[in-house]
């Protein structure tokens, strides 16, 4: 494979196929931990580490894992890496562990990770899979950071703990503010995509791993009805 395509594997996740803003995956952590920029980066790095490792291992084992049990096997491998990351975070950055709380082990059910395992790593060699994981992870982190900066700036008047604004609009770090900022970011992403002439993804089910299975009704109805 040429160098150029390796670069593509990495860079596609950052802008073109950004997992959060374009594929609408991993919405739960995106909304929950972005109350401050530091938490957003911490979550992004933890998820990236899991994504790169699980992509690498799943891709290396892709010929050995029987098709029938592939989903449980993927989940086991991902859960293993999540626990390793959790223990490392608890050992070396207990403050981050406290701040992320339940959302750290919940990386297991982050659709981005299982989604990349199923859609990419189980079909491609190790090196591109690592690059794909790294790119998606960086894209995830960037989107989280953007959310974190906006919410922290408006909600606490600071960024990375540095006071910048005299006013604090508390609602932005409360749950409603999370939904609102996320909606506005997707609005911007949609507009940019539309200008570039791309099909706009408007349902979380489009990127969902299970969309194939459930497309019989629930997801089809969602993606079919939305303009």
């Amino acid at each position: 494979m040429e160098k150029k395509s390796y670069l593509h594997e990495f860079s596609k996740g950052i802008v073109k196929e950004n997992p959060v803003l374009c594929l609408i995956l991993g919405t739960c952590p995106t909304l929950a931990v972005t109350t401050s920029a530091v938490n957003a980066i911490g979550m992004g790095i933890a998820a990236t580490a899991v994504l790169v490792c699980s992509n690498a291992v799943i891709s290396a084992l892709r010929r050995f894992i029987p098709d029938k049990v592939r989903i449980p096997a993927f989940i086991t491998i991902i859960a293993g890496f999540v626990t390793v990351v959790q223990m490392v975070v608890r050992a070396f950055s207990p403050a981050l562990n406290d701040a992320l709380g339940i959302y750290l082990p919940l990386i297991v059910v982050n659709c981005i990770i299982l989604g990349r395992a199923e859609m990419y790593a189980s079909k491609h060699p190790v090196l591109p899979s690592i690059l794909d994981g790294l790119g998606m992870g960086v894209g995830f982190t960037a989107a989280l950071l953007l959310m974190g900066i906006i919410r922290e700036l408006l909600g606490s008047g600071s960024v990375f703990g540095i006071e910048l604004l005299p006013v604090k609009i508390l609602i932005f770090i409360l749950p409603p503010g999370g939904f609102f900022v996320f909606g506005m970011l997707i609005l911007i992403a949609n507009r940019l995509n539309a200008r570039a002439g791309k099909r706009v993804k408007s349902s979380p089910c489009d990127g969902c791993l299970m969309s194939e299975k459930c497309s019989q009704r629930s997801c089809e109805e969602v993606s079919g009805n939305v303009d």
């Binding site: 989940i75 749950p175 609102f180 909606g183």
Partner: protein
């Protein structure tokens, strides 16, 4: 007294600690399957059933197997496998014995394995402390909490399905159509749930 605490645990799980709107768990189905009322209800019922069953299985495993042997670091991996296995089992049993129910609920089941609300509830319930005894939730408390979390999910889904029904008919600016306006609507619904803070404490004073 026991009934009082159980009711307060149940109400708190629905209103003040709503997993979707206050803790951001289970956002994917909340945004994805809330378009129509019947699918919203079907998904919520399936989630509730799996939540209660999963808690019923994981609570004793954690309390009586993992903790005494110092293996609580296996919590994440064990819980997710239990949930995945349970979902498969429920699916098989439903298909075989209650095909009519399977037809209405079955399609939501595969979605639930990766629903973070289910894993979240089974994990959070182990950290909760009964405010009157200051001990960990008993098995009964844990089950009531899980059931409440499921009903809370149902309440949020049904409310949101109603809001989205109205949105269908509204004249929305082109660039807001689809997910952006849905998220703005979700923001307003979660704002309304903020108002429930402290409600349960006042409704059922324990001390």
């Amino acid at each position: 007294m026991l009934i009082k605490t159980l009711v307060s645990v149940f109400l708190a799980a629905i209103l003040t600690e709503n997993y979707v709107l206050a803790k951001f768990l289970g956002i994917c189905p909340f945004l994805g399957v809330s378009k129509k009322l019947d699918s919203a209800v079907g998904m919520s019922v399936a989630v509730t059933v799996v939540m209660v069953l999963a808690t019923a299985v994981t609570y004793p495993i954690y309390m009586y197997l993992l903790v005494p042997y110092g293996m609580d670091y296996l919590q994440t991996i064990l819980f997710i496998l239990v949930i995945a296995g349970l979902v498969q089992l429920v699916e098989i049993v439903l298909r075989k014995y209650i095909p009519s129910l399977y037809r209405s609920l079955g399609i939501y089941l595969p979605l639930i394995t990766t629903n973070c609300a289910v894993l979240g509830v089974t994990m959070l319930v182990l950290q909760k402390v009964d405010s009157t005894t200051l001990y960990h939730y008993t098995y009964l408390h844990a089950l009531v909490n899980a059931f409440g979390a499921g009903i809370g999910f149902l309440v949020a889904m049904v409310m949101f399905a109603g809001v989205r029904g109205r949105l269908e008919k509204a004249d929305v600016p082109a660039s807001l159509k689809g997910l952006p306006i849905t998220l703005v609507a979700a923001s307003l619904v979660s704002l309304s749930f903020l108002g429930f803070a402290g409600l349960v404490d006042h409704l059922i004073p324990l001390s």
